[in-house]
Amino acid sequence: MSAPLLDVNGLTLCVHGVANGVQLLFNVSFLVAKGERVALIGESGGGKSMSMKAVMGTLPRGVRATGGSIRFDGRELVGLSEYERDRLKGSAMALVMQDPLTSFSPLFTVETQFDDIVRSVDARRDVREPERQRRARMRAALISVQLPDPDRVLGAYPWQLSGGMRQRVLIAMALIHRPRLLIADELGSALDVTTQQEILRLLDRLVDEENLSLLLISHNLAVVRQLCQRAYVMEQGRIIDHGPVERLFADPASETTRRLIKAVPPLYGPDVRSQPDPIDAVPVVVLDRVTKLYKRSDIAAVADVSATIHRGDISGIVGESGSGKTTLARMIMGLVPPTSGQITIDPASRIQLVYQNPGSSLNPRRTISQTLDLPLRAAGVKDAAKRRARIAELLTLVELPPTMADRYPRDLSGGQKQRVAIARALAVEPQILVLDEPTSALDASVQQVIVDLLLRLHRELGLTYIFISHDLGLMRNLCNRIAVMFRGRLCEQDATERIFHEPEQLYTRILLSAVPVLTDAEEQAKPQIGAAERDSLFGTGG
């Protein structure tokens, strides 16, 4: 191994100003060699971001290194003056932010914001260059991240660009000063899977071409596997496992690593956990040429969708943002009327909805029991004691202690809140549940727990699920039927196995090929898509 570019050794971080000082990082050590790609992985709160901030020199006020060293190319960074530190930022090491929307101000054009960064980094390095030269450099940087029309991008406001384009601009911003270390924070995790895949490929190529060292911060092991050679697993401010990525996956040394591996459900292979057999062929939801047009829009949010969902199905609707899957769910719920077509729901069945984000779907000013009480009262249960008993029963059903009834949502974790949301949906004893991305707002390790709960409820209560998601790996291990939506249309629907093993439509194949996976076997089982084929569906750029 060549000499390390970044050598973090025994780093300890503390919050000052608090009695005794709270320790954030404990003796954290990791290496990034020149030209090497290394990942810091772990769940939220594990200390990945703090480590990254310590390296970048952007620690929050009051947090200080109380021990250890950070050596960058042989130079000690701990204790370096702010001035010296700033000279490194952006030029020697650069950061690609996670969220391509909030990283920009909506008020200024891309050019203004890009130029600000170029100038401020230049100023720190005591470089001055004329505006024309800066613009030429920005254009070149944008072309290198495969934005073919840099002038249009520079003149645009951030909100006029797609998420993928914004992410590319962020990469261009990070690379313009030719840093030697690139730090990427949860790269592409806010993007659709096909866009994320393009970004990952782009970064892969750029890191090679520029001979960069890469430090990737991520919770998604499949993404890490695609980009990195070595990884460090963090938990509660400590590094608990590290090694070459292949070794970590083959032989995880810690429970956290195992949990993180489990959080990426296999796309192919034998490990199928559920997939129910339909109880009988009784159709409970029938969609007949359903179309939704919104006012002031020429494009149909949902176009000509026909499908049948049978009793006992776990029926998946998969699609990327803007594909119309949520609009379809809302029409099934009767929350928005279809513009044309017919939705028939078995009159003997009640239908309920579980939302994506339990932070928003529970009223923060009402206790859990008040939230659960409402559907019971509305259903006409007059006896307060009876309602209280039912609330306790519901909480037990979703594996929460009944003592939680008097808490407010803010006292609960994300997973617990989602359990309450599920309990609320179950209160009126529905036969059908529409689940709108019920796990995507949750931490990776909690997702699996919620999925297990949903499967148990499905079995025990004989429910029918309509499961909306963008996560193909998750759906493959859950749904017996899958419908793929693309730009408002249902482009393919069939039994899950058929969709995965013999996808017919180009979009389905692109979608499958874009999912990052954990093993070589899955990599080979995925459909292989050429760039020309992909462009034929999406068009270039974007």
């Binding site: 929350l335 928003s360 000013r365 009402r366 409402l374 559907p375 209160a427 009126v428």
Partner: protein, 270 residues
């Protein structure tokens, strides 16, 4: 922590103002000076003993008149907080919840009322009726609700967009439950803050009305009228305008500090 201090200080000041107003007949050094008392022998006395804040142009003790003047100020506050705020908040959350034509009707009507300058409205009402305390109250009530309606509408509009509103509807909640159990509690924070701000500003507005001769009529002591009268004798007899001015400042400061402290308590992120 520092915000809590502003809440404590604000509450202390407001409590002292309320206490002074309630106990005016007993704590004012010269309770009889609140009325049409005249003592030309002691007119324009500077602050000192026995007239701590001095006397006015007819020799009345300014401190005593301030104690009684607070009663009028607090009456205005009470009217706004008990009448205008509930009406405005109610209209605002109904508009946000109902949407469609109801929303348009309520909010456009609010906008129209908002477009009338408050003092012009007060002048009109004062001219139509007779300039008196009650016409000042009518003017204030007729105008003040618009601010609360706007604010409650904005707050409720963002609450209505949350998933839990739809979830409650899907659970079968009635309109009453939606408005008062789901929406209102989530808007209450900003409304409380605004009510505290309102309390400060309405004192100022009442003062302005009286200053223009539209509000309380002499000899009833009112801080605005006292400033108006005292201003004629500036700068030699500065205390006649300055003392009631400071009294207004003190009361407003109390309510604004409460508002500031409440805002921090309601929204700890800021």
């Amino acid at each position: 922590m520092s915000r809590n201090i502003s809440l404590i200080v604000g509450a202390t000041i407001a409590a002292s103002v309320i206490g002074i107003a309630l106990a005016a007949p007993w704590i004012a050094p010269f309770p009889n000076h609140a009325g049409g008392f005249v003592d030309f022998h002691h007119r324009h006395s500077p602050p000192g003993w026995p007239h701590l804040f001095g006397t006015d142009n007819v020799g009345r003790d300014i401190l005593s008149r301030i104690c009684f003047g607070y009663r009028i100020s607090l009456l205005l506050v009470a009217v706004v907080v008990c009448l205008s705020t509930p009406v405005g908040v109610f209209l605002g959350i109904i508009a946000a919840y109902a949407g469609g034509r109801v929303e348009t009707a309520i909010m456009r009507f609010t906008d129209i009322i908002l477009a009338i300058p408050p003092l012009v409205m007060a002048l009109a009402i004062g001219a139509a009726l007779t300039p008196s305390l009650s016409s000042a109250l009518i003017a204030i009530v007729a105008l003040w609700w618009t601010w609360d309606a706007r604010l409650a509408y904005r707050a409720a509009k963002s609450v209505v967009a949350e998933d839990f509103i739809e979830a409650a509807k899907l659970s079968g909640a009635g309109h009453f439950h939606m408005l008062f159990k789901e929406i209102l509690p989530n808007c209450l924070g900003v409304i409380l803050v605004q009510a505290a701000f309102d309390a400060g500003f309405v004192i100022l507005f009442g003062g302005a009305l009286s200053f223009l001769g539209l509000g309380v009529q002499p000899p009833t002591p009112d801080l605005g009228t006292m400033i108006a009268t005292g201003a004629r004798f500036l700068p030699e007899h500065w205390w006649e305008a300055a003392m009631p001015g400071i009294a207004i400042l003190y009361a407003i400061l109390g309510f604004l500090l409460i508002a500031d402290g409440l805002r921090a308590a309601v929204d700890p992120d800021r």
